[in-house]
């Protein structure tokens, strides 16, 4: 397999990339894009795919199409060996999930659906405080693509899960696409209730039964349900979307939901380096967050947090004050509100002035922050499990919730999506991610160069070597490493905070210190490694404990090493003028904007 073409059919654009094996190594060589054609007047996704191919043909000189047929296999400069695709067009995979207890089986069901690449429209639970008729109305009106019904551990409650099935049956929901076919429902709950569920739902829905996602309180078994979701996504949902039957006949491997494919890549990165990874993909409509800690993979989607279609919802969810705190100049509240709404109604426009760029990047910080908070609240240990805790653990629990996303244990933070991948300066992407995610200790930061993670995710299912090589050489751009304080480290401006000693790759040693509330960049190139010894002042912690020194290897990147003593959480001055000065100082230190 030497020549691969892959597309991602997004909600607005279809992006094609060409991968070729040259001198024994796979490289991404050309890319083309074209508007997605799922909607009227075309209503055939393959039109957009063909247009994107045509652009790749034009740029690369490779003949890929013979009329509307993909030429396979590749011979010289003609044809490709395989075509692969992901899709989030037409709003992606929209699901509704149901479970007996909101914080137990319903939450597991939510994780199963999200991990498979779905947008969860609503979570119905026996104890969600809605009245039965409200639940039924909601199920009927939402028109999801699919429902995942769970509930009860094996041998546990039958009545609650049967009750939920009765509501689904009463709602008699119709799928979003295709007026005539039955709505797919996956049952992944208590195995003792299977027969009853079949009696209730078999005639009204396209029911499939799979293993319980929560066989016991202590164990979550999401894989079979996720597999079933992806299978039904292809068989029912995709097959109903305009042009997808044809598209499916072209691809050499099953079409994957875009976030499902990105999830695979995140897991591959984590596995390869045995590291903990957090990834984010910020789009126009939605923001996906992925985390891999050890063996545990979680993905969440903030369906209405994005930088174009959903930009106004960032304002609604984060609040105006939170956005304004990142804007380094004075702007009238009503002016900012109007600008945000104007971007929402004309989502394809781009900032023309630096001032506009700063506003857009301020909004993106909040979109990323809110999405990450939502992720942390769902990426949690299993609830309902009995375990003994000592008193110190109990305190920790209260402070941190049960999230699995421990920022001190995070090795790599990866960003993708327009506002990060296409920021005019890479340092802007790095600062946006540091401000939004607030990494602690030592964290490497990278971005997806031109948005090709979905393509590589689906490629990894057929050729892992190709996916890995392209990922390392052409996709991931290392920005550098952030060295920062740990959570709870708060000080006063100019207070003595850390001193450090850094040994550069050429053996040159530098010693310096940085007071509290500052940002400093030390250049260190891509593929370069240095050793840093950090000594925090007695009230500050960089991960080893208050006042305790730490020595670590740090990796360079296009930005370098960023030493961040701005506190965790980052403390911004209360008054406007001082805050403006702070922001100016930080952006200048990292050379984020033109002087």
């Amino acid at each position: 397999m030497d020549v691969i073409i892959a597309t991602d059919c997004g909600s607005t654009t279809t992006k094609a990339i060409l991968i070729e094996k040259k001198d024994g190594v796979y490289r991404q060589t050309f890319r083309g894009e074209s508007p997605t054609t799922v909607e009227a007047p075309f209503e055939d996704v393959t039109r957009g795919v063909l247009n994107a191919f045509a652009e790749v043909e034009e740029l690369s000189g490779r003949k890929i199409l013979d009329g509307e047929k993909i030429i396979t296999p590749a011979r010289g400069n003609v044809g490709v060996d395989i075509y692969l695709s992901t899709s989030s067009a037409g709003g992606g995979l929209q699901m509704m999930v149901a479970g007996a207890v909101k914080t137990m089986t319903a939450e597991s069901a939510q994780r199963a659906a999200l991990g498979a690449g779905a947008i969860v429209m609503d979570v119905i639970a026996s104890n969600d405080r809605r009245l039965p008729h409200e639940k039924i109305d909601r199920i009927r009106h939402l028109r999801p693509d699919m429902i995942l019904l769970s509930g009860g551990t094996d041998g546990g409650t039958v009545t609650h899960v049967v009750e939920l099935a009765e509501y689904i049956s009463a709602a008699n929901p119709r799928p979003r696409l295709g007026m005539t076919f039955q709505l797919p429902v996956i049952y992944a709950g208590n195995k003792d209730a299977r027969e009853k569920i079949r009696e209730i739902l078999n005639s009204k829905t396209a029911l499939s039964v799979t293993e319980n996602i929560r066989p016991t309180l202590e164990r979550e078994n999401l894989f079979p349900a996720r597999q079933e979701i992806q299978k039904l996504f292809l068989e029912h949902v995709m097959a109903q979307a305009p042009g997808y039957k044809k598209l499916m006949s072209w691809t050499g491997a099953p079409i994957m939901p875009t976030p499902g494919a990105v999830g695979l890549i995140m897991q591959a990165i984590a596995k390869k380096g045995t590291i903990n990874v957090v990834g984010v993909d910020i789009g126009g409509a939605t923001t996906d967050v992925f985390s891999v800690y050890g063996e545990i993979f979680n993905r969440t989607v903030s369906a209405n947090l994005g930088m174009s279609y959903s930009i106004s919802n960032v304002l609604a969810e984060a609040g105006l004050e939170n956005i304004l705190r990142w804007v380094p100049f004075d702007i009238e509240e009503s002016d900012l509100r109007n600008r945000i709404k104007n971007k929402m109604i004309r989502p394809t426009t781009i900032p023309q002035t630096v001032e506009e760029l700063k506003i857009e990047q301020a909004i993106s910080r909040e979109a990323l922050r809110v999405s990450f908070c939502q992720h942390k609240s769902l990426a949690v240990g299993l609830k309902g499990v009995q375990r003994e805790r000592d008193i110190s653990e109990a305190f920790k629990q209260e402070m941190e919730g049960e999230t699995l996303v421990d920022m001190l244990q995070l090795d790599l933070l990866v960003g993708s999506g327009g506002v990060l991948s296409h920021a005019p300066r890479r340092s802007q992407a790095m600062l946006m991610m540091i401000d939004a995610f607030q990494p602690e200790g030592i964290t490497r930061i990278a971005v997806d160069s031109i948005f090709m993670m979905p393509h590589l995710g689906v490629l990894s299912t057929v050729n892992e070597q190709a996916a890995t090589e392209v990922f390392e050489k052409d996709c991931l751009i290392h920005l550098g490493t952030c060295v920062s304080l740990a959570k709870g480290s708060i000080g006063k401006p100019k207070e003595k905070c850390i001193s450090y000693k850094i040994t550069m790759p050429d053996g040159k040693k530098t010693e310096d210190s940085l007071p509290y509330g500052e940002l400093r960049v030390l250049p260190l190139g891509i593929d370069q490694m240095a050793e840093i010894e950090i000594l925090p002042a007695k009230n500050f912690d960089v991960g080893a404990g208050k006042g305790k020194p730490m020595t670590k290897k740090v990796f360079g990147g296009v930005v370098g090493i960023v030493i961040d003593t701005r506190g965790r959480p980052i403390t911004l001055a209360k008054d406007k003028t001082s805050r403006g000065e702070q922001l100016q100082r930080w952006t200048k230190a990292i050379e984020a904007y033109p002087a």
Binding site: P35, V38, T159, E166, S310, I345, R346, E356
Partner: protein, 375 residues
């Protein structure tokens, strides 16, 4: 690639408008192909399934779920009246008898011997779809609805709130730059669709609601006032179902922006005519923009059509509107469309175009930041 495609809103003096009038569920179409209809005429009817009520019968009766059927006086599918006894226990001592009354008038949907629940359904709710525009039925979509065609002036807005409404079109200002102040809204505007100028404030909207104005067409207004109008911060632009007493359509955007002269002139020329407007907006793939449809009186679909949508890219000489600061709202003609990307102030490398204004001045903007205005 010598041309670039850019979004544009339709502004057509006389064009063919086809309106799909479809039921949310299958039902009955009550008109025939060729019928000439008025906007208010009903074209199709159906019944929405009634609301479902659940009663925890076993708790109320103090019995086991598996025994529920033995105590039922009604079976699935039976009609019931409100307060009618649907189940009762049969104890030896009559005083201990427990009865279950129906909370609604409707039918028994399900009796569950697992959960012990009874689901009841209210009677179906009739709904109907009207023609919405004066026109002729050109196609029957069996059991679903109809297509109505008309020859009309068609103006697409950029954003709207509120659903379909019909009324006489009246100008409430003299020039596109005017503000629609509350003293411009008169009692005579009851049941009318009024055209404002560049801006409307919340107090004027309130007055319009009190007076009974059906719709307002305006250049721009503030997001702060949208929040007041809706009672919440609009997050995602999917609108049309708001019940706010009137329909509001913005032709230009948020802020104080005069209605484009061409749009204003067109609305002025059709003042006094019956207009059908819909504020429904949906900004995602498959964009829905608010619309103003003003049919011509002899509304035959075969009527002369003078304007067709421009399905071509931008060309030198085309009129465009800048849709982002710092030149937001300005209208000019394309002077140059250089092929190669250029670096703009933000340091991004993008494709640009040069625009010339009527006073001879020129500016450079990213191509993504303009929209075409139909000639």
């Amino acid at each position: 690639m010598t041309h670039a495609y850019t979004p544009g809103l339709r502004i057509a003096e006389k064009t063919k408008v086809a309106s799909h009038r479809v039921l949310p569920l299958l039902g009955d179409v009550v008109v025939k192909k060729g019928d000439v209809l008025r906007a208010e005429d009903v074209v199709a009817r159906t019944h929405l399934p009634g609301k479902v009520h659940a009663i925890n019968a076993v708790n109320r009766l103090g019995i086991q779920p598996k025994d529920l059927r033995e105590y039922m006086l009604k079976k699935e599918g039976d009609p019931v009246q409100k307060d009618e006894i649907i189940a009762e226990t049969k104890p030896w001592v009559k005083m201990l008898k427990a009865v279950l009354l129906s909370p609604i008038t409707g039918t028994i949907e399900t009796i569950s011997t697992v959960t012990g629940q009874i689901l009841l359904r209210e009677p179906p709710k009739p709904i109907q779809v009207s023609a919405y525009v004066d026109g002729t039925v050109t196609e029957i979509l069996e059991k679903e609805g109809v297509v109505i065609e008309t020859t009309a002036t068609l103006i697409q807005g950029i954003f709207g709130v509120g659903g379909e409404t019909v009324g006489e079109l009246v100008l409430a200002v003299d020039k596109p730059e005017d503000t629609l102040a509350d003293d411009r809204i008169l009692p005579a505007h009851k049941d009318k669709i009024i055209v404002g100028g560049a801006f409307v404030r919340h107090d004027a909207l309130e007055k319009a609601r009190r007076v009974g104005v059906r719709g307002i067409i305006i250049g721009g207004f503030n997001d702060e006032d949208l929040k007041k109008l809706l009672g919440y911060d609009l997050g995602v632009a999917i609108t049309g179902s708001e019940e706010i007493g009137l329909t509001l359509i913005l032709t230009e955007g948020f802020g104080q922006i005069p209605i484009a002269q061409k749009t204003f002139d067109l609305l002025q020329s059709r003042a006094g005519a019956k207009a059908s407007i819909n504020g429904a907006t949906q900004i995602r793939a498959g964009v829905v923009r608010p619309e103003i449809v003003i049919p011509y009186e002899t509304s035959k679909p075969s009527g002369a059509e003078t304007d067709k949508p421009a399905d071509r890219g931008m060309e030198i000489g085309d009129t465009v509107r800048v849709i982002r600061v710092p030149y937001f709202g300005k209208i000019g003609r394309i002077k140059a469309l250089p092929f190669s990307p250029q670096t703009i102030e933000t340091e991004a490398s993008v494709r640009i175009l040069e625009i010339e204004f009527s006073d001879g001045s020129t500016i450079v903007v990213p191509r993504a930041n303009v929209e075409m205005i139909e000639r």
